[in-house]
Symmetry: C2
């Protein structure tokens, strides 16, 4: 008869008994085929309840250490021959997580959002109302492309802000554009050559490469990429930011758009992905009509995000598919769940429907205009002003600046970095890796404050300009 | 001198002028190279402000219809030769969105969540506090694997609920398990053969196939899949639900776990993906120790989700990677943004840290136990009770039921469907497509109410059992 020292038990008694018996089985003290005492006998002999023994036995059965023969009792399983002793693994426990660079104090490459600019109180209010009024909808699985209410709100926004007339069913909501890029490669096929703009958004290249896509780098003239360049690359798909190219700021003019559309129509299977990532912040004039609007043949996928217009930490983006691709999506990919939480989908939908989004965009557009003007003025008035040329590009959250100096760009970047200032030049976005001696710098100002600008300019003046003259 | 009928303008005047000039350029009325009137002359002649003309000209310049020569003026661009007329596209505008089946009144395949069971008021309270106290963090880009606070909360949960000791940096947060399956295929490589359980989770197969993965279907005995079966399939990776297999409910016993681990250790590059999707709801006994816990060699990826424990509409899941794969993730994939919104990451983290998650799970476990018992009792007491066998499987949100009848399963399913009842049988989860004459049905009860069960049983009694006897 097995007995154990119940004094040693801390925690539920059944777990203790389970563990004792299991250890005895593994150590070989209890042999395969051996009969265990009946629950009642075990319980009586030890002065505990049969339920406790029952629970311990059940657990051992469910883990396969013992088995039961109905009306006969419990037996030790033939487990020893299978017990596998893990080899002495010689594995490391060091995890190398990418950390922030502690040397960087002023980050001019940061294009995030200042917490003061996020409409927290309105967002919280809308979110609270959604939770109290939409319980049923919040618990109902979202259609793969996103909840109807959000897609309708996006369609209304596209109509009023971009003059685009789209069916909400053409809209697919995703958790960030990165997610949607992946969906696009499934829809268009992975055997195609994708042309990406050079210089351009380096992450795009990484994502396409991860998805097994072959990419070609399309050079640009002052109007953007050309059909000739797409032909040279033998591209099937052109992924472009025609409305405000990152980082050069180029807006593709109408005639070039027609040229690229003509290229797409020359052959079946050719597509244009129109990435309209920051169209909300063009600061003057009517925004350029989108490729999607002037396309009559279902050749354009329009893609946009709330990362710039709301916050990159709210992971909501969307794309508008031509009808035949929308149907392909529903046929072949709608088994995927929408990756965005219903809570955020409904909150954003209501935020848009109640006009808060439009107000927020207008406020932010003004804020960024002033921000840009303030920073450019500060630069122009500073000692640096005499040594640099600024290129505004009428929109977006950055401007370009060239330092007119004999010191090569890389050396200036290094000097700035040594003084705690991180800054990117166009070279950092050249996919082919070319570097220029005297390159443009990209000044992101979305999170810059006047105070920080003053400090940065002072560092540049004292340690770089004067330092180099001496 | 150009003049336009300004009476016709509705909306901003500059837009009207822009449109008139643009139309004249496209129609050829204004010829390439033609000089436009100076802003001042144009304004004076029409009695409008030069700013208005300036805006119209700027827009035309940015779209490429006109160009400017400094100190000379504005000229019509040579646009005609490039203007591209879209071919008369013969494309459809019909979108075929998958719709809910209007015939289905009672859906026994629905494993969603009843809105009454989601802790709305606590969630709203926590979310509100997060928004008022964590503005900075909410606007700071999340690390690729998820915000620290959530990963720490998950690590604490895994320790107390599953006895798993993991470094928060081993945890990668994703928007649903589907997202994480994609990440896994990148980490382990797409050239590998993945074994999936048969019967099993059919969506898994679809997702792996979409990701270009070759899958083998591993048959199961009463303890789950076997090493022999993995060898037969020449599998490199085994994706399994060892703790509560869906849909059979099998729990893999200890000895079989060691056998599968031994298989994984026989060769480099072999891995086990342990899908622990509903472990929170095992209703009795201590949960089985996970594969991840007994693995000493970094062979197991543990994956779990809040879909079952919280709601499928909150898209948060996570996986725990062995250290070397975590490092591979940080090296090669951390350029991906975390697809889950900061708002929900911080809300969930606090919800867990304040003990609400544990309370919720305990409440739900009890609820589901009662739910299951109530429904099984109702079935047993009904006329159907005499004709069926119920297999409980101690956990999860469904049980299995076999109808002891000569009528083939497919015919019963059809009869039920014709009466508005949707129900799945094991055959619907057999990846190889085999159907059995007399198969088990899967009864999901997470959203069933007593009232609906009574109605369903009445339909079955009156229209199927009695109907077939007559």
């Amino acid at each position: 008869m097995i007995t154990y020292d119940f004094e040693k038990s801390d925690g539920p008694l059944y777990l203790y008994i389970y563990k004792c018996i299991k250890d005895d089985i593994i150590s070989g003290k209890l042999k395969s085929g051996e009969k265990l005492p009946s629950k009642r006998a075990f319980a009586r002999n030890n002065g505990i309840s049969t339920i406790t023994i029952q629970n311990a036995y059940d657990q051992l059965v469910s883990e396969g250490y013992i088995f039961t023969i109905p009306k006969k009792g419990y037996y030790v399983a033939d487990i020893m021959k299978d017990i596998y002793t893990a080899p002495q693994a010689n594995i490391s426990f060091d995890i190398n997580v990418p950390r922030e660079d502690p040397n960087v104090i002023y980050d001019l490459s940061d294009n995030g959002i200042n917490p003061d600019n996020f409409p927290f109180s309105v967002w919280a209010k809308v979110s609270r109302r959604v939770m109290s009024e939409k319980k049923e909808e919040l618990m109902k699985i979202s259609p793969s492309g996103g909840v109807r209410e959000l897609r309708e709100a996006i369609a209304a926004h596209l109509l009023s802000f971009r003059g685009m007339l789209v069916d909400p069913d053409q809209i697919i909501v995703g958790a960030g554009t990165e997610y949607l890029y992946g969906v696009i490669t499934h829809l268009l096929g992975k055997d195609k050559i994708y042309a990406v703009e050079n210089p351009g958004y380096t992450k795009l290249l990484k994502i396409y490469s991860k998805n097994g896509i072959q990419c070609g780098f399309a050079s640009m003239d002052e109007s953007g990429i050309t059909a000739a360049e797409l032909n040279r690359l033998k591209a099937d798909v052109a992924h472009i930011c025609p409305n405000h190219h990152f980082p050069t700021g180029i807006t593709m003019p109408a005639c070039r758009r027609h040229e690229i559309l003509a290229w797409a129509n020359e052959k079946n299977g050719r597509y244009i992905i129109e990435d309209d990532y920051d169209s909300e912040f063009r600061s003057q004039g009517k925004p350029i009509p989108t490729f999607f609007s002037i396309d009559g043949c279902g050749k354009v996928i329009y893609i946009n995000t709330f990362s710039k217009s709301l916050s990159p930490t709210v992971r909501i983006s969307y794309m508008v598919l031509p009808v035949h691709l929308a149907n392909k999506y529903y046929d072949t990919m709608s088994f995927y769940s929408c990756p965005v939480s219903n809570f955020e989908q409904y909150t954003l939908a209501r935020f848009m429907n109640m006009g808060y989004f439009e107000k927020h965009i207008n406020r932010m557009r003004l804020f960024y205009m002033r921000q840009r003007k303030g920073i450019m003025d500060a630069v122009r008035k500073s000692t640096l002003g005499k040594y640099c040329t600024i290129i505004e590009n009428d929109s977006g959250l950055h401007f370009l600046m060239k330092i007119n100096s004999d010191i090569p760009t890389e050396k200036i970047s290094k000097m700035l970095y040594d003084n705690g200032i991180k800054i990117n030049s166009l070279g950092d976005y050249r996919l082919s890796g070319d570097k220029f001696e005297n390159d443009y710098y990209i000044i992101n100002y979305s999170v810059l404050t006047a105070e920080r600008v003053t400090k940065i300019l002072k560092i540049i003046e004292e340690r770089i300009i004067i330092g180099n003259r001496e």
